[in-house]
Amino acid sequence: MANQEKKFYWAHGVSREEVTQALSDQKDSVLYRQNTRRSLVVFASLSIMALVISAFLVDGKIQSYIEGIAIALAIALYFVLRKSCRLIAEAPAELLDERLLDIRNQNYVTSYGILAFVVGLAVGAVWMSDIAFDRGMLDEPILSRELITPFIIAFFMLGALLPNMVLAWNLPSESQS
């Protein structure tokens, strides 16, 4: 029994114990209010955008600082968003009831759609800039390491954060009554 509680779901990155604790928490936390959740989503979006914008900064020192702050903020917000969503996005199916499973599955469909749209935009932008470089409209190709690295990091951050961002935006405030 003790071993079951300590079971770690490697594919999900969570343990049974932490999911059970997160789901059964009945404290009236500010993290479970919709306004708070949506504010966290806005901050997470801004940190990802800051990382993307930093790619275009000429000053290397300022770029490094902004990149570092944006990444640190995104990582911190990832854990806070996870907690505010009660680990629903990460939980394996066996630990969720039918209602939470419905919510999680709807959430992933929406997240996948958003990510596919972003990937489409990114691929389109790279393709068009490649054409523009071939035609002499750009001085250098967009796929230079300095320019592409922040984009790649931002993309991975978006991938990690998106399920909890979508979930946090859509979950209603929780009533403890």
Partner: protein, 81 residues
């Protein structure tokens, strides 16, 4: 887009879960534990914001020691029933 909790918004399911639960002296947590769902699911169910699956409805009926037609209906229950 808030998550639509009811399975079919156009066909609401009315229920007497709260009445029967409180008559048995059960808390939401106790009923949730008995049927194996999150305590908030019982809350959403009682407020009519979520319609249970058949298996969950059967489990609730067993936990409340009642028949499904006495607990769930597609028409509002009359007061006093």
């Amino acid at each position: 887009m808030l998550y639509r909790m009811s399975r079919q918004k156009e066909d609401p399911v009315f229920n007497r879960v709260e009445d029967l639960r409180t008559a048995k002296g059960m808390s939401r947590q106790q009923l949730a534990d008995a049927v194996g769902v999150h305590y908030q699911t019982i809350g959403y169910l009682e407020r009519g914001e979520y319609s249970p699956s058949l298996i969950l409805a059967l489990k609730i009926a067993k936990a409340l020691d009642a028949e499904i037609p006495d607990i769930f209906s597609i028409k509002p229950f009359r007061k006093g029933t």
